[in-house]
Amino acid sequence: MASAVPASFDTFPKLLMHHAQARGERPAIREKDLGIWQTWTWREFADEVRALACALAAEGLKRDGHVALVSDNRPRLYAAMCAVQCLGGVPVPLYQDAVAAEMAFPIQNAEIAMAFAEDQEQVDKLLEILPQCPTLARIYYDDPRGMRQYNQPQLKSYESLLAAGREAYQRDPRLVDAEIEKGKASDIAGMFFTSGTTGVAKGVVHTHASLLQPARIAAEMEGLGDEDVVLAYLPPAWIGQNIFSCAQAFVTGYCICCPESPETVITDMREIGPTYYFAPPRVLEALLTQVSIRMEDAGRLKRWLYAKFMKIANRVGGALLDGKPVSAAERLLYGLGDVLVYGPLRNVLGMSRVRVGYTAGEAIGPDLFKFYRSIGINLKQLYGSTETAVFVCVQPNGQVRSDTVGPAVPGVELRFSPERELLIRSPGLFREYYKNPQATHEAKDAEGWFHTGDAGFFDADHHVKIIDRVKDVGKLADGTLFAPKYLENKLKFFPYVKEAVCFGHLRDKVCAFINIDPEAIGNWAEKRNLPYAGYTDLASRDEVYDLVGGCIERVNADLAGEPEIANSQIQRFLILHKELEADDGELTRTRKVRRGFIGEKYRELVEALYAGRDSVHVEAQVRYEDGRTGTYSADLKIRDAKTFAPGAAQALRRAA
């Protein structure tokens, strides 16, 4: 590993120029173009940035001027971003798949005058909102395809901008260096707009220090160096992408690789073999599904090998990765499995060289998480947000678990408010929400604590456990913490449970509605020769109740081991007669359960659960897909679930 970069290089442009000197011929960025990986060395990258900065200066970019960037991951995007920073400007990456209307607000809000657009599609969107965004005077486009007929005065190609910049640089090579020297760590380095799903979008302002410092600390913690390779495949407007493929690359000098197109990511990953990897749980899940499907189609011998060795991996893989003691015989078997199954599997996934893999963003199922760790991929969880420059909690090697997000990263202070809200004070904290002092004030208090809105607690090892959003967390009648989403997620990790809705706020116990997964349970029923007529019939079977009851029992056993929430074990449940639907208003369009609405709509069922009855009669209106309505009428069974005394479940859990 290369020597650490001195901390005196405290801005992005200064770091870039340092790398161009220190490791000028090493790869900085790779991009697959016309089927061949093209490499930009740090020197080439710096040259392009310098020229571009000269051109932007000539175009009138001032210090603190905002520049929008709408592009997928491309070397030129990163060059443009850094060129803007060279002049003290502020790059504002926007989501490249946002529709035109969604781009209008950030551009108006940040009074953006210049924008970089990847291609015709992005240019079209920017031109569409031009009437609402009078400040936007310049649009630079990279890919000239289809642009021949465009003659708007705002448009200019990246090529011509670069050519002008190279000339300007020849004339006055000192201009850029002087501007770079003026840059301070406390200058603004970027602005990231939050998605706006929870209200109006807010521009999160980060300084060079608040992006680079956490990046540096985390890189040191994981031992990242200039030999490492990262595949940049998530949207550049997301802060994580910026940290992984910009801030950390600039801190360590590692190489980032841009896929050929969004559809080729899996192939590109296999070709590049990244050593450092990030994926949200849904990506990991999609990969695992692919593996499972391909295994089902494989020959009998391969299927047998896979089943056999995955069992061994499941037993000892994680322990080996954590450096825990494992018997010699098991080690030998695992080694054999590594040659026959795990190695090839890692290779297919493009993860043969992954040293550090992160996942974050939502709760990850323990089985999913364990799968990757058991085949020898060092997947870990982290916790962070746009406002905290990602690194708040990271699981250190050897302390990796599926149900926590790990302890605080060095330099980060954490505490929980009485409402159990996680508060953070760290060097990576954002400076402010752009032009929104009120929101800034609400999120960041006078002592500098950032209020995350996430509720959780420290477990016995001082790992942070995030359970829900603060506003959704309630209390049972006896004062026990009640985090419905945490319970529901635990239930949903079982393949048989599609949705779950837990009730318990201000009640004496927790009860749940379950939606079974018709495909998984249908399959299960077929294997048992269990005939059924349809969803409603399947959902009312005693066998299915037993199956679901077993799932709940395991969740309860888990909960019993967590003193904080041991009392929120699920005591009674019923299986709903219909699937929860977004069309019926029971789910949001992004398929999150609308707990309040469901509680109201099925009030009788909820009352029956709490009244201790064995069954409840439902008559419900349903809306069919063709718009007709009909009525259902059925008797739903209600069952008690087995619960455990707090702590007593440990033994059972170990046995399972």
Binding site: D33, L34, G35, R145, G146, S261, E263
Partner: protein
């Protein structure tokens, strides 16, 4: 004018597929041939690239005149085509299929190529680059190495267009490029056809049933019915032509 067809007649025994058809195609234009089923559209296309040999009439392509064209000659002169019912090599990858479109541009001998000697290697790299540019142009990078037989229909159509483009044609004949596609695939295809026309300056003659597409992307339209030309003009003119309306909707007898 890049192509003109004068009084072409084609008969199979007693079936007169084309009767005295004449029209022309301007350089750089998108020209559509439309007509009800059995009107002779595909026959016309087959005459143009030498699959069928008309009994009478003349074809003039870029100043040269023929009575009947030979397929290989048409290809050598810069006429490429796609087929109504996709004619790709199903077991070969997308890349290899498009590479076959470069066949006429390969100069090295069989021996050179078999041994991958210097010039053959250089040549192959050059062709591969041309093929990669087409792959990039048609946005099919993700299926570069996929056997064509495994692709959905819409993508196969795109690959076929890619193979035709690989020949760097002056004139591109498209036989129902959007048949069997859904709306989104049609829109994509329209965009590619227009981009080909604009970026490479390729002249395009296409047969299409989707009137919306035809009216949107073509500069001029020829209408055939029972082997005869019944109208010729801009989409607007053709749309309002009574004979065309009659041919499509039928007339009371």
């Amino acid at each position: 004018m890049i192509l003109s067809v004068e009084n072409v007649s084609l008969a199979f025994g007693g079936v007169r597929a084309l009767q005295e058809v004449s029209f022309d195609v301007q350089e750089h234009e998108v020209r559509a041939i439309i007509g009800p089923n059995g009107a002779g559209k595909s026959s016309m296309l087959n005459v143009l690239n030498g699959v069928y040999h008309p009994q009478t009439g003349k074809i003039r392509f870029r100043g040269e005149e023929f009575t009947d064209m030979e397929s290989h000659r048409a290809a050598a002169m810069g006429i490429a085509r796609t087929f109504q019912n996709i004619a790709l090599f199903k077991g070969m990858t997308v890349l290899d299929n498009i590479m076959t479109g470069r066949n006429l541009k390969m100069r090295c001998s069989f021996l050179h190529q078999a041994l991958w000697l210097g010039p053959a290697k250089r040549e192959e790299l050059e062709h591969r680059r041309a093929v990669e540019e087409i792959i990039d142009f048609l946005e099919i990078q993700h299926i570069r190495k996929t056997p064509v037989g495994r692709l959905p229909y819409g993508l196969q159509k795109r690959v076929e267009l890619g193979r035709a483009l690989a020949a760097e044609p002056k004139l591109l004949l498209l036989d129902e490029p959007m048949a069997g596609m859904n709306l989104e695939e049609k829109q994509d295809m329209c965009r590619f056809i227009l981009d080909v026309n604009e970026q490479f300056g390729t002249t395009i003659v296409l047969i299409e049933h989707d009137m919306g597409v035809v009216m949107d992307i073509s500069n001029r339209v020829v209408v055939l019915d029972y082997g005869r030309k019944i109208a010729d003009g801009t989409p607007e003119e053709v749309r309002n032509n009574q004979r065309v309306i009659d041919a499509y909707l039928g007339v009371a007898h």
